[in-house]
C-alpha cells in the first residue's frame, strides 16, 4: 500500500469530508449563510473585531488547505479561472470585517456621545502631494507585484479549440454571472436571465433616492441604518457572493449539486418531480374537498389550457376569442398562484408598512415607498421560491402556456 492511500483512509478526514459535503448542500448552506448573517448582525458587538475576523480567515484558509488533500476538491479549487473566486471569498470576509468593525466602533462612540471616528480628522486637510500620492504609489506597486506573481505562477486557461458540436457538461457562464445561472434552477430564463438582472440594476440605481435617511453619510455605521445595511448585506453576500461560490464550486454536470469532496459524476441522475401550485390545488386539495362535500365540480382534475396565440394584425376574431377562452381557463387553473402572487405584491407593501417598514411607510412618499416595497418583495421572491422548492418540490407559482413564474 502506498502512503498516498493511507492518507485518504484517515477516518477523521473522511468524516470531515462527509460533513462538509452535507453542509454544502444549498438547502443547508443557504439557510446557514442567511441565519449566520442575521446572528452576526444581532451579536455584532462580539463578532466584529480583529480577533474574530482573523479567526474566521484562518478557519477558511485551513478548510481550503486541508481540502486540497482531496483530489476532487483540488480539481475544482485549483481550476485557474476559479482562483479569483477563492480570492473573492477572502476579500469579502476581510472587507465585511473592515466595514463592520468600524461601524461597531462608531456605534460605541455614539453611546458615549462621541462623533464617529472619521469625524476626528474630517475637518483637517492632507496634501495630495506628497501624502495621497505616496499611498497611491504604494498601492499601485503592491498591486503590480501581486499581478505579476499571479501571472507568472498561474497560466491563463486555454482549452480545446471551439467545437460547437461538443457541448461540455456542465456549461457555465463566466463566474460573475453564476448567481444568475443558479437562479435558472428556480426561475425561467425570461425572469432569471432578463427581468431579474434589469430589476437588480434599476434597484441599485434607485438606492440613493429611496434611502432618505440622512444619517450614516460619510462614515461606517450600522445602528443608524439597520434596515438598509441589512438588506444590502443580504443581497450582496447571500444572493450574490454566496450564489457565485455555490455556482462555481458546487454545481457539476447537469447543474446538479455536488459536495466539495464529491466526484463530478456526469451520470448522476436526480429525479425531478416538481409540481405547480395548481397541481396541489386541483389534484390534491380539491378532490379531497370533493370527497368531503360530495360536490362533483371539485373532482374535475386539472383544467386543460391550450397554447393559443391570438392573431392581432390583422385582427382575427376567431383566434382572439379562442385566446380569450384559454386565458379564462388559465385563470381558472392557476387562480391560487395568481391570488398568492397578487397578494404578495399588493398586500405585501401594506403589511410591511405596518411592521418592519413602519418608519419608511411614514417618512417616504407614495412613489418611493412603493418602489422600496417592490424591490424588497422582489428580492424576497428568490429565497421564497428556493424554500418552496426544497419543502414542497414547487415548480411554478403560476404556470400558463405564455408565461411562467
Amino acid at each position: 500500500m502506498t502512503e498516498h492511500a493511507v492518507v485518504h483512509a484517515n477516518p477523521a478526514f473522511e468524516a470531515f469530508k462527509a460533513i462538509a459535503n452535507m453542509l454544502a448542500d444549498p438547502r443547508a448552506s443557504f439557510l446557514g449563510a442567511v441565519g449566520g448573517l442575521i446572528l452576526m448582525l444581532r451579536f455584532r458587538r462580539y463578532v466584529f473585531n480583529w480577533y474574530v475576523g482573523a479567526f474566521v480567515l484562518i478557519v477558511e484558509a485551513v478548510v481550503i488547505l486541508a481540502g486540497m488533500m482531496d483530489p476532487n476538491f483540488k480539481l475544482i479549487i485549483g481550476k485557474p479561472d476559479n482562483v479569483p473566486i477563492t480570492i473573492m471569498l477572502f476579500l469579502s470576509t476581510i472587507t465585511l470585517w473592515l466595514a463592520m468593525t468600524q461601524a461597531v466602533n462608531n456605534e460605541r462612540r455614539a453611546e458615549q456621545k462621541l462623533p464617529p471616528e472619521e469625524k476626528e480628522t474630517s475637518n483637517q486637510k492632507t496634501w495630495v502631494w506628497p501624502d495621497l500620492l505616496y499611498i497611491e504609489f504604494i498601492a499601485l506597486i503592491l498591486c503590480t507585484v501581486a499581478l505579476i506573481l499571479w501571472a507568472v505562477y498561474l497560466r491563463a486557461p486555454l482549452e480545446e479549440p471551439a467545437n460547437p458540436s461538443a457541448t461540455p457538461n456542465p456549461s457555465k457562464a463566466p463566474w460573475y454571472f453564476l448567481g444568475l445561472q443558479e437562479m435558472l434552477v428556480y426561475y425561467d430564463p425570461w425572469y432569471a436571465g432578463v427581468v431579474l438582472p434589469l430589476i437588480i440594476i434599476m434597484g441599485l440605481m434607485a438606492i440613493p433616492y429611496i434611502d432618505t435617511n440622512p444619517k450614516g453619510n460619510g462614515y461606517y455605521s450600522f445602528a443608524e441604518r439597520k434596515f438598509s445595511v441589512s438588506m444590502f448585506l443580504f443581497g450582496y453576500l447571500a444572493l450574490w457572493v454566496f450564489m457565485i461560490i455555490t455556482g462555481t464550486f458546487l454545481r457539476g454536470p447537469g447543474w446538479n449539486f455536488f459536495g466539495p469532496f464529491e466526484y463530478w459524476d456526469p451520470h448522476k441522475v436526480v429525479a425531478l418531480n416538481n409540481v405547480n401550485v395548481s397541481d396541489y390545488v386541483w389534484v390534491v386539495l380539491f378532490p379531497k374537498l370533493g370527497d368531503l362535500t360530495g360536490i362533483a365540480w371539485f373532482k374535475q382534475g386539472l383544467p386543460p389550457v391550450q397554447n393559443v396565440v391570438p392573431a392581432l394584425i390583422p385582427p382575427d376574431m376567431a383566434s382572439i376569442r379562442a385566446f380569450g377562452h384559454e386565458l379564462f381557463m388559465a385563470w381558472k387553473r392557476e387562480f391560487a398562484g395568481i391570488i398568492f402572487i397578487g397578494l404578495y405584491f399588493l398586500a405585501g407593501p401594506w403589511v410591511m408598512g405596518k411592521t418592519f417598514l413602519k418608519s419608511y411607510f411614514k417618512s417616504l412618499d407614495f412613489g418611493r415607498y412603493s418602489l422600496l416595497a417592490f424591490l424588497v418583495l422582489t428580492m424576497g421572491t428568490l429565497p421564497l421560491k428556493m424554500v418552496c422548492r426544497w419543502l414542497f418540490d414547487l415548480k411554478y407559482f403560476i404556470d400558463t402556456p405564455w408565461i411562467k413564474f
Binding site: 472619521e118 483637517q124 492632507t126 498601492a139 491563463a156 460547437p164 441599485l204 438606492i207 445595511v229
Partner: protein
C-alpha cells in the same frame, strides 16, 4: 564634479521646459505641481484627511481604475498578435503563449480582468457601507452602477475571444438568455404574439440574441462583434463614464466624510 553636473541638468532649459515647478518643498509648489500636471490634477490639491485613510476607502476605487489602465495597456499589446477570426483566434492564442517573448501578457490581462470585477464589487460595497451614495453623491452612485455593468460586459465580451471550448460555451450560456427576452427574444414569452397575418416578426433571425451575436449560431460574426465591443466600444464608454465619475467626486465635495 557630480554637483556641477546635477546643477547643469537641473538648470537646463530642457528640464525647465518639462518640469516647471521644481522640487515641491513649499506649499505653493505642492499646489502648483498638482495643478500643472494633467494626470495629477484628477486630484484636488488637498483632500479631507479622513478620506485618504486606507481603512476608509480601502483604495478600492483607485485600484479599480489602476486595473483598468493595466487592462488597457496589456490589451493593446495583445491586439498586436490577435486576429478576431475563427481561423486565427485560437492559433494566435497558442502563439501568444509559446512564441511571443515575455509571454505573460495574456495572463496579466486575464487575471487583471478578474481582479477588476472583484475590485469594483468591493468598491461598491465600501461606498454602500460608508453611506457615500447619500446626497449630494446620488448621481455618482448611478454612474457607478453603470460602470459596474460595463465592467461585467467588458469581461463578458473578452471571455469569447480565445475561441476555445471554455469561451464559446460560456458565451452560449450567456447569450441564450438574450433569446428569452419577453417580446423581443424568439424563445421568450409573448414573442409569438408579434406577427402580421401569421408571419412572425420576432424569430431567431432577427431577435435580441441575433442582435447580440450577429447570427443564428455563435460564429465568426459573433467573434468580430464581441471583439469590437471589447476593444473599442465598451472601453470608450467606460472611459467617458470614469471621467464623469472622477469629475463628480470633486464637484460633490471630494471623498465623503461625516458632516
Amino acid at each position: 564634479m557630480l554637483g556641477k553636473l546635477k546643477n547643469s541638468v537641473m538648470d537646463s532649459q530642457v528640464k525647465k521646459s518639462i518640469f516647471r515647478v521644481g522640487i515641491p518643498n513649499t506649499d505653493r509648489k505642492r499646489v502648483l505641481i498638482v495643478l500643472g500636471n494633467v494626470f495629477l490634477h484628477l486630484h484636488p490639491t488637498k483632500v479631507r484627511t479622513s478620506g485618504v485613510k486606507l481603512r476608509y476607502t480601502w483604495c478600492a476605487g483607485g485600484l479599480s481604475f489602476f486595473l483598468f489602465l493595466v487592462l488597457t495597456l496589456t490589451g493593446v499589446l495583445l491586439m498586436f498578435y490577435y486576429r478576431p477570426t475563427v481561423e486565427g483566434a485560437y492559433v494566435d492564442m497558442l502563439d501568444i503563449r509559446s512564441q511571443v517573448p515575455f509571454g505573460i501578457m495574456r495572463e496579466l490581462h486575464r487575471w487583471s480582468a478578474h481582479a477588476m470585477v472583484i475590485m469594483v464589487m468591493i468598491h461598491m460595497f465600501r461606498v454602500f457601507m460608508t453611506g457615500s451614495y447619500k446626497p449630494p453623491r446620488e448621481f455618482n452612485w448611478v454612474i457607478g452602477v453603470i460602470l459596474l455593468v460595463l465592467t461585467f460586459l467588458l469581461s463578458f465580451t473578452g471571455y469569447l475571444l480565445p475561441w476555445d471550448q471554455l469561451a464559446i460555451w460560456a458565451i452560449t450560456v450567456g447569450s441564450n438568455m438574450a433569446k428569452a427576452h419577453p417580446f423581443v427574444g424568439a424563445a421568450g414569452p409573448f414573442a409569438d404574439f408579434l406577427q402580421i397575418g401569421g408571419v412572425p416578426l420576432v424569430h431567431p433571425g432577427d431577435d435580441a440574441r441575433f442582435m447580440l451575436i450577429g447570427a443564428k449560431e455563435l460564429g465568426g460574426t459573433t467573434l468580430l462583434r464581441f471583439y469590437v465591443l471589447h476593444c473599442v466600444a465598451i472601453p470608450l464608454g467606460a472611459a467617458v463614464l470614469m471621467a464623469i465619475h472622477f469629475w463628480r467626486i470633486r464637484k460633490d465635495g471630494g471623498i465623503s466624510g461625516p458632516l
